[in-house]
Subunit: 205 residues, 2 copies
Amino acid sequence: KIPEVTIGRLSLYLRCLNEMEAEGMTVVSSAELGRRSGINPAQIRKDLAYFGEFGTRGVGYYVSELKNNIKEVMGVNRPYEVALVGVGNLGSALLRYKGFQRHGFRITAAFDVDLEDKEMPEGCTLYHADDMERVIQEKGIKIAIVSVHQSSVQEIVDRLAKAKVKGILNFAPTKVSVPEGVTLRDVDMGTELDILAFYLSLQEK
Amino acid sequence: KIPEVTIGRLSLYLRCLNEMEAEGMTVVSSAELGRRSGINPAQIRKDLAYFGEFGTRGVGYYVSELKNNIKEVMGVNRPYEVALVGVGNLGSALLRYKGFQRHGFRITAAFDVDLEDKEMPEGCTLYHADDMERVIQEKGIKIAIVSVHQSSVQEIVDRLAKAKVKGILNFAPTKVSVPEGVTLRDVDMGTELDILAFYLSLQEK
Ligand SMILES: NC(=O)c1ccc[n+]([C@@H]2O[C@H](COP(=O)([O-])OP(=O)(O)OC[C@H]3O[C@@H](n4cnc5c(N)ncnc54)[C@H](O)[C@@H]3O)[C@@H](O)[C@H]2O)c1
Ligand SMILES: NC(=O)c1ccc[n+]([C@@H]2O[C@H](COP(=O)([O-])OP(=O)(O)OC[C@H]3O[C@@H](n4cnc5c(N)ncnc54)[C@H](O)[C@@H]3O)[C@@H](O)[C@H]2O)c1
């Protein structure tokens, strides 16, 4: 299995290549890609070598070609529909995040147990949580974002896995288990601040 | 320097120990802590060994004692005031996140260039971005969360560093540079979905 950290870096290279392409650059060295991404050029070459030979000796990498190669490798060369479960404070912010679309992900279905006063952006329909399995299977959705309270998250994740969802991004700060074949990513914002506090306290000691 | 990944795991152990203490558990083995956190018990013992001898042979760890030891090591045994810059879709959700307080962080100052229609939760005051440096220095704030558009993020981070902020959590999907002595953590939600799509596409190939 290729480490998730490597995939995270590929996503970062993709973002840099998109920016360079927008600036009209046609070739780039691993040193320049290193400057823009903050990753050591040797690590960049190692990451790319996992997937094949992409550079041209003496020239570097062709920006558009490398971008398309990475997209192919990452499986993001086609659009994905995404489900969002829990349209509260965080969920309604995520619905409006334009960054997902830049990566090729469109939230087309949102689910909640309370449908009052929830404004949906264009292209996204709000459903009751009871309809989650039916709608997800009809639309063939394989990726879901979960932003419900931690007391309901395991039940929601179990239902998503039964509805053949294969990738879940969880924001609830609690341990969640998923069956074989489902990838889970957790974002714990409290832990992010803990890490900042740790290095701060090191300086103060 | 102790790796950030290790500190992230300490934060996870802390969350598990808090849950166990709330359930009335007084002792715990590394195997049980491994089950609850999803981390291999040998890794747990290795992480804790960085900071000292915490277990008791034949008994395991005393839950409250280990919790306090880890809090001490992480520098989170005292409350921190945090600044939030950018009170838009994401920022206003973060203002209402109760998880930060559980870790000992209270957002007490929020900054924006547009002060219209922004409702502040109790204990947090909204200021204009022009007052950022003055307020941060008066309050002695050392940690800041930045949720402004990527076009303004570098300027904001430079100003925060000048105001002696030492830890910054950035949500804008772009490379940000910080001076020596400032710790930066990036959360890129687009990358999280890229990682899910990668493993999904592996299964489909
Ligand atoms: N607010 C933030 O910025 C933030 C930051 C980090 C993590 N989180 C985590 O994200 C989650 C959501 O936080 P929030 O602040 O948006 O909470 P919230 O209470 O504002 O929103 C939760 C939403 O989930 C819905 N819901 C509850 N049970 C459901 C179910 N069974 N099926 C579908 N929908 C259901 C509720 O109706 C509500 O709309 C929590 O676990 C929280 O810890 C929030
Ligand atoms: N919405 C999301 O859920 C989400 C998710 C991931 C990442 N992000 C990132 O977080 C950032 C904020 O996203 P958003 O959706 O909240 O955007 P938004 O436009 O809703 O909010 C941005 C806020 O920043 C304020 N602002 C602009 N310039 C400022 C300055 N110089 N000083 C202080 N405040 C300033 C604006 O007035 C506005 O209130 C963006 O970089 C976005 O890419 C957002």
